[in-house]
Amino acid sequence: MTDIIRLDGLSKQFGFVTGVDHVSLSVRKGEFLTVLGPSGCGKTTLLRMIGGFDEPTAGRIWLDGDDVTDLPPNHRAINMLFQDYALFPHMTVGKNVGYGLRVTGVPKREVETRVREVLDLVGLADKIGAAPHQLSGGQRQRVALARAIVRRPKVLLLDEPLSALDANLREAMQVELRHLHQKVGLTFIMVTHDQTEALTMSDRVIVMRRGRIVQDGAPQSLYDMPSSPYIADFIGTTNLFASRIENGRIACHGQLLSIDPSLILPGADTFGFRPEKARLHRGVASGASGANHLRGKVADVMYRGSIARIIVDLGTGQVFVDLQISDAATGLPQKGDPVTVEIAPHKIMSFVAEDSA
């Protein structure tokens, strides 16, 4: 048995509102799983049910082969890294980290060793006697992390762990959390609304929407093969457009494009391409037939350092195209410049539009 967590038709109803809707899921031992979704999609409720803080209205939760659905949090071998850390303000760092060990009857001396060990692991051994309010945000987070893993739980839950940190620290902590995951070999289940975090850190990502899982896969497959226009636009950016297929060609805002026939899903009615998969040419390219060209004018330029996102006005609609700054040797295009967007037929994605309700 390698599934450490198994959720079986888990639901949570808040009055008339459904928070989580029949979610079934297996998490392998040692996996770094991320639950991704916009706020209100039920991801935090799902995590809180696994932790035992919210009771499911239906379904079962299995932890390492045992049904733990009705157990309170203190009887589950699961620990949680709380969003705002939840450090005890009246205890030192050492007491915070050792808090969960004394209850399990670990001898005093061993508590001390293990607290030191785990503080060493997160690089805060010298802060053992400090009070939480004397630490920086990043240090507090690491104390919370140490406190959560010192009991050697079977699963570590992380509730938006990086949302309270500033941008630079967040990136450093992404790397650190990932290293820690590899070092301690625990199963991590993280909840986030930040797609970059999800893609960077996890082995597997689950996308939730309105209480349901809408896609489940490795980060790369999620990005390259989004299963719906919703995910295509939620993870990264996608130029989406509705079109019918005529003679193997589709219309993007009125201009015809060829699409690789093997990519067309049965019943496909929505298409799209990623801004970084298209190329931008100056001027109006001489339209050799068969070349996948969209002609338009630069509507705006969003400079982002390593890339520039060019908004191209096609007359009846707009598309985004990313320009690598290193490619733009002759400088960025200006507003109003005529340009041609080239998109290879095999880089166009097709979708069957879901109900938009």
């Binding site: 939840a86 005890f88 009070a131």
Partner: protein
């Protein structure tokens, strides 16, 4: 027209300053000076002698009254705490609806808007021989005739003062409990602690500031009270403030009354500064 900044500052600050000097500083100074004067019945003369303070120490009735007052005040604080803490805890943790919580909170606090005299007097009518308690006990058959034992003793003092001052215990404890982030309790459960252990290790220490503030307020208020003693106290329920009032009234011994008042003031200030120090100690821990 804008007045110069300096003038504006003076205008804003003068009323409170004048008020403090006129109604606090001056009376205390007068009290302090009087406490060294000499009584020469039926009046008193300026002097500088320790006679009044020596009387306080040597005459056992003053020491006894002071001790009794402290005992009653301590019991009032203790019973207020024992009633207020569970109530505040219940409000913060068990009452889900904000409306119900507010109603139950106001039920305790609202009597503060009713005259103190009326609230204290209520207990005279409850505990008295013609009162509700006696009527009830006779109705149930436990007593055959009204008993006077409920009124005019230290117990009736403690009961009345607890009732009168309990809002001052509920308010700070409620505030302290409400301020404790819920996720600390969840973190404690997450780390393996049951409800009782979480209460002892997290909730109680983090609400101590409220307990100390409540204890200080109820103790000091009860300590200085003298109206309840007139209404429900009787000879055994006499408080130190009653003795002071007598010195300034019937006994016409202002110097002794001043000395007593100053001793009381010092005791209250000592308690307040001790509680303030405790609060400072705890405050640094909240970031």
């Amino acid at each position: 027209m804008m007045l110069p900044l300096r003038l504006r500052k003076v205008l804003v600050l003068s009323p409170p300053l004048i008020w403090v000097v006129l109604f606090m500083f001056v009376p205390y100074t007068i009290l302090f000076v009087f406490s060294f004067w000499e009584q020469q019945y039926p009046t008193f003369a300026p002097a500088f002698q320790m006679g009044n303070y020596l009387t306080l120490i040597s005459d056992p009735q003053y020491v006894r009254t002071l001790a009794r007052t402290m005992k009653i005040a301590a019991l009032v604080s203790l019973f207020s705490l024992l009633l207020a803490y569970p109530y505040a805890y219940f409000l913060v943790h068990k009452v889900r609806s904000p409306g119900a919580r507010l109603t139950l909170y106001m039920a305790v606090v609202a009597p503060l808007w009713v005259s103190y005299l009326l609230r204290a007097y209520t207990w005279k009518t409850i505990l008295g021989t013609e009162g509700a308690l006696n009527s009830f006990l006779i109705w149930t058959g436990i007593l055959t005739e009204p008993s006077p034992i409920f009124l005019y003793n230290q117990t009736s003092m403690v009961v009345t003062l607890t009732y009168v001052f309990i809002p001052f215990m509920v308010m700070p404890i409620y505030a302290a409990l409400e301020k404790i982030p819920r996720n600390l309790l969840e973190a404690s459960a997450d780390l393996g602690m049951g409800r009782t252990a979480t209460f002892v290790k997290v909730t109680l220490p983090l609400s101590m500031t409220g307990v100390v503030a409540g204890f200080t307020m109820t103790f000091c208020l009860a300590f200085g009270d003298f109206i309840a003693a007139y209404l429900v106290g009787g000879p055994d329920g006499m408080m130190i403030s009653n003795v002071i009032a007598t010195q300034f009234g019937a006994s016409l011994n202002w110097p002794l009354g001043s000395a007593l008042a100053l001793v009381m003031l010092v005791i209250v200030l000592a308690i307040i500064s001790a509680s303030d120090r405790f609060e400072r100690l705890g405050r640094g821990k909240f970031a």
